[in-house]
Subunit: 409 residues, 2 copies
């Protein structure tokens, strides 16, 4: 599958230079979980004293790994921690056997690293409903533990890919109390591994010192305005996982959820979220939807996601059609408050509709010319209040159908 | 647009024989609202004493016609009524001008028929955001009123089409108190008229005698289990309208919402709903999703629609892939109660997953063979309670993308 899909036209020029984050080491390798000849496992260790926070899929049918991570979060941080990820098999909908696989992998990593088992956080992504061949993985754990490297993050970004068309990374640095603090993250998502659903996995590291409760609070707040504001096709994986590790090795302590650290972390999370959208299946356009003037922020997000998830809006974008009528339709169906006669809509800076009708100043040629760009903004003002939200999506193209319908495993 | 789309492979052999319903007359004609050389207007009159009930889109940005119909419903029925429909322009998001167009058309029909203006129910379907050229329509009203015909229902079914690939009709007869009662209905939907959203319009007629409040109660209940259980792409039109007229001309009175009349009406509504799905844009498969064992009926419908609206499920069906993993995913994301380890899933009679894992008896070849049919059943049992619901949808194919993205108006 992965090998047949060309690199997304929205991909950046290459993988970014990511700094080593003090206290974090990476190892990646080949375990042939499903495919031969590609990296499909990675081990990431975090030094003693690291805090770990996480956010996860809300799916009622989430995978054994997700349930295990949720159980382990919030534990004592003095022992350090490890993240382990395999691609090729999601260990989802594998019944009780799936829990056994998580246990077996966690034990193997605990043995190889000396970390307590309840500090081993695992993720799996790939085919669902097939037993995870965890023996292939546990056989490689000692090798991985022996090859940990502070500069190994790019290899980890490659190992977690499924049908992603490019590896995804982002970084930021920020000064706290005169000390430089690094943040670096990797993500995978919106590629598919046949025959199953896309899974988004994200791992972010920092050498800031942050207590676990504060780290979790920051992460949860920022997830709501970054990863929870992107959508490719409205479908939710059973395995979505975002883990954030803070080693404290910089000596700089974060004591408030508002400030330079959160701003920098948000920039990294947002960049990774945008990269996931830019690798959306079949995507040829990146679309930012800015909703303002809603009754409240929640309504704004509801409207934004209704627009972003509408197949008719997404196919119009694919067809480079400035079809504001479909935007009106999506607002109307979202369930959040709207008044036709107060609504205004713009594409980029071009006002296309206002006061319940097409704008007098608008000419179809303007919209048609604007839609040829590969980064688009759709602005909606409800005219009702101060609620606002920004969400990001991609278009819906023949490529999406081809990836998900034409090729079978 | 309409002319370039081949007839749906799921279309029936032809338009059915529909009986004349006493007290109902039809006229259709060409007003060139948008396109020349095709029927695009129809007038339907209902005799004195007819009750009219309706259900409508819940869109917050619904059209001027829908708002007007909602205002007029429930009025005195002794004067008879008329339905008027035009295709080519939906009169949606046309601001105050849209209200003026509805008023102008209603007045013209009142003048031509002698009916009070508040008994004229109008619908418009087609391009949105463009002023309805209602002068073209009002100029034709006298002709229409002069050519009313009890046998004209097929012409009406043709006039309301936009990019529908076939005209849709259904009928049933039922005996009440020894008297034969006829029910006949027409529908349009799931075709698009570029550059706008699909609209579903449905008109059903009967010569039963039913009080307006009871007719409305029956219609609302049956809409929930028929038209509100179908989905093509999860998008909701600003114009969806279902009107039901009961002339009473048979002399047979319906006095209870349960009974033979409701059963027969349900069969007509369900058949029309299925025809709309079978004309879904790009559809090649008709899919019935049967959810049982949910905590309650509402949860069952939530799960059913989550499966029916999932792009990943719909592309799998298009690819003839018995991808039960995507069904699990859709159940997980729906928000309604589910327990992975109690879930079972079948495709037709083939049990593919049970107790949180692939069924031991299941072989991929069975599923692959089943998926080649063009009428499919996906069964889901949640194992939680007695809640159940059945919903209907179609697959998501390259045809959908082509209709909505490739061709521009």
């Amino acid at each position: 599958m992965a090998t047949t899909t060309p690199i997304s036209p929205l991909a950046p020029a290459g993988f970014p230079e990511l700094p080593a984050v003090d206290g974090v080491e990476f190892a990646s390798g080949e375990a042939a979980v499903k495919y031969e000849g590609r990296k499909d496992v990675c081990l990431i260790t975090l030094a003693t004293g690291s805090s770990v926070a996480g956010t996860f899929t809300k799916s009622a049918t989430r995978s054994a790994n997700v349930l295990d991570c949720q159980r382990k979060l919030g534990g004592a941080s003095d022992a350090g921690a490890a993240f382990f990820i395999n691609s090729g098999n999601s260990n989802a909908f594998t019944g009780r056997a799936g829990e056994g696989s998580v246990k077996a992998i966690s034990e193997a990593i605990a043995n190889a690293t000396g970390l307590p088992e309840d500090r081993i956080f695992t993720s799996s992504t790939g085919v669902i409903g097939e037993r995870l061949p965890h023996e292939k993985i546990t056989a490689k754990v000692a090798d991985l533990a022996g090859s940990l490297d502070a500069d190994g993050i790019e290899g980890a970004a490659q190992a977690i890919m499924t049908t992603d068309t490019f590896a995804k990374g982002a970084t930021a640095t920020v000064e706290i109390d005169g000390k430089p603090v690094k943040i670096a993250g990797i993500a995978k998502g919106s590629g598919m591994i046949a025959p199953d659903m896309a899974t988004m996995l994200v791992y972010v590291f920092t050498d800031a010192k942050v207590s676990q409760p504060l780290l979790q609070e920051i992460l949860s707040d920022l997830t709501d305005v970054t990863f929870n504001c992107i959508t490719v096709d409205s479908d939710t994986s059973t395995s979505d996982t975002l883990l954030l590790g803070a080693t404290g090795a910089s000596g700089a302590e974060v004591t408030s959820k508002d400030g330079a650290f959160s701003d920098a972390l948000k920039s990294v999370m947002l960049e990774l979220a945008h990269l996931v959208v830019k690798d959306g299946e079949g995507a040829t356009k990146f679309v930012e939807i800015q909703v303002t003037g809603a009754a409240n922020d929640a309504d704004a997000k509801t409207h934004g996601l209704a627009i972003a998830n509408s197949p008719l809006v997404k196919t119009a974008v694919a067809g480079e059609d400035a079809n504001w009528g479909r935007v009106v339709m999506a607002i109307g169906k979202s369930g959040a408050a709207a008044d036709r006669d107060l609504l205004s809509i713009r594409f980029g800076d071009i006002v296309v509709a206002e006061k319940g009708w097409v704008a007098e100043s608008y000419a179809e040629e303007q919209g048609a010319a604007y839609m040829k760009q590969d980064h688009l903004e759709i602005g909606v003002d409800l005219g009702l209040g101060d609620g606002k939200s920004t969400v990001w999506t991609c278009d819906l193209t023949h490529g999406y159908i081809s990836i998900n319908a034409d090729y079978r495993s």
